[in-house]
Symmetry: C2
Subunit: 304 residues, 2 copies
């Protein structure tokens, strides 16, 4: 992928394979009457996604000498939550997307009812995975993970952000109130909180001091926003061939984005500032956090 160092590219490929294997083990094929549910859960997750969140879990876990087996379980749990949110977002009542990553979305491949249930089951399974003793021998660590994931993905996190996003798409009145502060809060809830969990889970698993956990949380905050701003820029400036999707969708839909609010120049400048800020937060880790610095650079330079 453009914008990636060789080291980052290789590690991301390794992480993608390892997470895919772990997900396949945690979501087995079954021959019982509910087989269709497991098939849909597997379809929605084992699909060659970018695996950015799992990669962040694995990378930060390594910084605290966490066993790869434990980190992979947490990475898989995060990816289940991310995947469930995409399955539900794609439903006709929501974004009504027939395609996802070049394949029919879950409700097109199966049906709406199965997609709703598969999303519900993936969300529930993610907590089951975190709660299981295989994730960490210390119950205090496991409950810390459950608490953090629930907060990141619940009504004050991902689902709340999704609600705001839907309202602003549908209601002129909601759209008009959307300034930079409001759109920042929405994205922070909708995607930032789960990225935040992904960057701090390794610190939780490694029982790192609160100060280091907070540093990673601050890194994730700035990284997530930079990522979103670049998303908005790519929609305006991106090469449809490289992105694998059409550009200009936001403008056509009348969406409020960082670019529509700030213009492309100030938006790009803002992304740069955030990426640099993200790297600043990594100071306490010295060379240990080089891979996270690569990610902050990649987020700026990516073309898809």
């Amino acid at each position: 992928m453009p914008g990636m160092t060789e080291g980052l590219r290789a590690e991301l490929a390794d992480a993608t394979n390892a997470v895919e294997d772990c997900l396949a083990r945690l979501l087995p094929e079954v021959s019982t009457p509910e087989a269709r549910l497991f098939d849909a859960m597997r379809y929605a997750t084992l699909n060659g996604g970018k695996r950015l969140r799992p990669f962040l879990v694995l990378t930060t876990a390594r910084m605290f000498n966490v066993s790869e087996g434990a980190a992979l379980r947490v990475a898989s749990a995060v990816e289940m939550v991310h995947s469930y949110s995409l399955v539900h977002d794609d439903l006709p009542a929501m974004d009504n997307d027939d395609m996802r990553r070049g394949r029919p979305s879950c409700h097109k491949q199966f049906d709406e009812a199965t997609a709703i249930l598969a999303g519900d089951a993936l969300l529930t399974r993610s907590f089951e995975v975190l709660a299981n003793v295989s994730t960490h021998p210390d119950p205090a660590v496991r409950i810390d993970l459950v608490n953090a994931l629930a907060q990141a993905s619940g009504p004050n996190g991902m689902v709340g952000g999704q609600m705001i996003d839907l309202l602003t798409e549908r209601e002129n009145s909601a759209r008009e109130g959307l300034d930079v502060a409001a759109i920042t809060r929405m994205h922070q809830m909708k995607t930032g909180r789960l990225i935040g969990f992904s960057c701090t889970a390794g610190a939780i698993l490694g029982k790192a001091p609160a100060q280091l956990r907070h540093a990673l949380s601050a890194y994730a905050h700035d990284l997530g926003l930079a990522f979103q701003i670049v998303d908005d820029l790519l929609d305006v400036e991106g090469d449809p061939g490289e992105m694998g999707k059409s550009a200009g969708k936001d403008a056509a839909a009348g969406k409020v984005t960082f670019v529509s609010l700030l213009g492309t120049d100030r938006a790009r400048e803002q992304a740069r500032i955030l990426s640099a800020q993200a790297v600043e937060h990594l100071k306490p880790f010295d060379g240990e956090a080089d891979r996270l610095r690569d990610v902050a650079a990649y987020v700026l330079d990516r073309r898809s």
Copy 2:
């Protein structure tokens, strides 16, 4: 309600009020842009439901001298899961029910997208509530609760049972394979596992010996099945006035039920046997479990 002792009636009323208060606190009204999500979550839960599951949590928690505050949080978490399942079940793509407990169902009162998100948010919030230190000071107890609730409500529990139920409603081939063993398994997954959690959560909170926890689990298993068989009987024999819904819906829909498989006489006999078996499992508790014996009797005699 007919079939209830005075003591049971009074305690159920108290539990209903206490759980309603606790749910209202755990699902606050907010004035932030995602207010609609919280409104829908409150609408779906603060609705005067029967609160059977919370009542079972509170009753068994009392047997192990658990503080009422802790028990109420767990009871509320269970009710959030139960409520989310109803919100999603009512969706047009699922059972397409416009009414729930005499009011418009969540997607009719709000809209489909909001109902999907409110269900997702209730499920996530339930784990957040269990994981919070206010539920129990010991993280091992909290993770035990999370693990048990996730198992009860995930793909091997409630959601899996719902998948089977949907398939048997839609596909003749699935319906033809449905014998007593298969329908028992389906109901055990769809509703039995969550009733099982409700009956054992008090034992988890009170760190009861495994043997007592298993006794309550066995009680819940038989109670849940008896409850379902009586449901099927009421659909055939019930008084529509007392039930608040029309009878004969199952037969009209061509549904396979315990009554369609066994006939009314054998089904009633089976419910009696299960209720008696449920009571048998309570032996280790002596007089401490009298209220659970009342519930087992009520389940048989109820007319709605």
